[in-house]
């Protein structure tokens, strides 16, 4: 019990770092996903290809390799130096972005063609149609899948401990060896992740209910 009480403040600090990284990465990741999805659906083959190559590259490689590539690989070129937290955020954002883009693309394509036709026949241009008619409906449909991906990305942040980011998992590792009580520390670590993810799902289903498609 004493172990837990001693370790807890450190774990909470780690949690803050995890949530900070997750929060920024998920927002950027979502924007990347939106842009890549629109590129994939754009009426220009070259854009479709660029987007597809990006998505395939991310989906076809392990997260940890992407992380090493960005942190060690890009930094070794010497053009810039990313600290480990920034590299972590960038990796999570890009990784989530690729998966989000597939979700968003499927969501957009699931909206009936008649919606676009009705909007265009009123004189709305393609951008206005996407923004006011297609995306709002697509997002409602995509919300459960988006939540799913967000949860996966949150769990992915634990891998940032490998490059020394002081996130929740890293603090857990430190506390486990400092207290010689690996069992209880990792048990608590798991519970903290579980609670955070549970709250995230609750938030998502609240939003879902609020914006339920009529």
């Amino acid at each position: 019990m004493q172990t837990i009480i001693n370790a807890f403040p450190y774990l909470m600090e780690g949690l803050q770092v995890t949530l900070y990284i997750f929060g920024i990465a998920i927002v950027i990741g979502f924007l990347i996903g939106l842009i890549v999805a629109l590129l994939r659906l754009a009426p220009l083959k070259i854009l479709n290809w660029i987007a597809k190559i990006f998505v395939d590259a991310i989906r076809g490689t392990p997260f940890i390799v992407q992380l090493f590539f960005i942190y060690f690989g890009l930094n070794s070129l010497g053009f810039f130096s990313l600290d480990n937290t920034t590299a972590g955020i960038v990796t999570v954002a890009i990784n989530a972005g690729a998966y989000f883009s597939e979700i968003i693309r499927a969501g957009i394509q699931s909206i009936d063609k008649g919606q676009t036709e009705a909007a265009r026949s009123l004189g709305l241009n393609p951008t206005q149609t996407m923004r006011h008619i297609i995306l709002p409906q697509a997002f409602r449909r995509m919300l459960p899948t988006i939540t799913n991906q967000a949860i996966i990305s949150l769990k992915d942040t634990s891998l940032l401990s490998v490059i020394g980011v002081a996130d929740l998992t890293q603090e857990g590792r430190i506390q486990a060896s400092a207290t010689f009580d690996a069992f209880n520390v990792y048990l608590i670590l798991g519970i903290i992740y579980f609670v955070v993810i549970y709250l995230l799902s609750m938030l998502a289903s609240f939003v879902e209910r609020k914006f339920v498609l009529r």
């Binding site: 008649g114 036709e117 026949s121 009123l122 004189g123 409906q137 009529r214």
Partner: protein, 242 residues
């Protein structure tokens, strides 16, 4: 000036030549009804009039503007050409009122107050003011179609295109929608109506176009076209539907 001029219109989907050569002229305040067998290209013809389908050949002039000209701002033209679809295509995430106000709001047709006032007037006109705050999912088919008509009218179009507006409706709903269309016709709206409602075509149509095989086979006032069809194919079609 003629409202619509269709000049040697052609439309293919890949190898499938749906419209081979069609020409016609629609004058202001005319109501043109388009009839023909299923798959004959009635919808395609209508959708070429606001370039919802890319036109393969020929010209379509809307109030003198050649919409086949790639330099034309088609969005501007479409603001003057309302369209009503068989499947309504209301925006399910917007209320009835928002469905009607969305386009005029986004396309800056006056301030919000005026746009809303106009929307309520249009909902009055189609008999659905009390449904303003409802969502499309809460309406019957006939009500949805009347909202769709109000939505199209909100842009103050000069021309209205209807693609079988009553074919997806339960029989008891058809009358309400046709009544709205008749009122619109009497008010002088220029209308092109693809329809299976021969009664409507006979009563309201200034002219009826019979389409088959990629051509306008016959075009005449309803009395003549229905009572004294000139072509074998028209006769064969009418004998099946009348």
């Amino acid at each position: 000036m003629s409202m619509i001029i269709v000049e040697n219109l052609k439309k293919s989907f890949g190898d499938l030549e749906v419209i081979k050569d069609m020409s016609t002229v629609v004058e202001e305040k005319e109501v043109i009804c388009v009839i023909g067998p299923s798959g004959s290209g009635k919808s395609t013809f209508l959708r070429c009039l606001n370039r919802l389908e890319e036109i393969s050949g020929g010209h379509v002039y809307i109030e003198g503007t050649d919409i086949t000209d790639p330099k034309v701002d088609i969005n501007k033209v479409r603001q003057n050409v309302g369209m009503v679809f068989q499947q309504f295509n209301l925006f399910p995430h917007k209320t009835v009122l928002q469905n009607v106000t969305l386009a005029p709001t986004k396309l800056k047709k006056g301030d919000q107050k005026a746009v809303e006032k106009k929307a309520y007037e249009l909902l009055d006109k189609v008999g659905l003011r009390e449904k303003a705050k409802a969502y499309p999912g809460e309406l019957s088919g006939g009500q949805k179609q009347r909202v769709a008509i109000a939505r199209a009218l909100a842009m103050d179009p000069k021309i209205m295109l209807f693609d079988e507006p009553t074919s997806a409706l339960d029989p008891e709903m058809v009358g309400d929608v046709l009544d709205v269309m008749k009122q619109l016709a009497r008010e002088g709206m220029t209308m092109v109506v693809v329809t299976h409602e021969m009664g409507f075509a006979a009563e309201m149509g200034d002219r009826v176009l019979f389409i088959d095989g990629g051509y306008i086979v016959e075009e005449n006032v309803p009395k003549e076209l229905f009572g004294n069809p000139q072509h074998e194919r028209t006769k064969a079609f009418l004998s099946k539907v009348l």
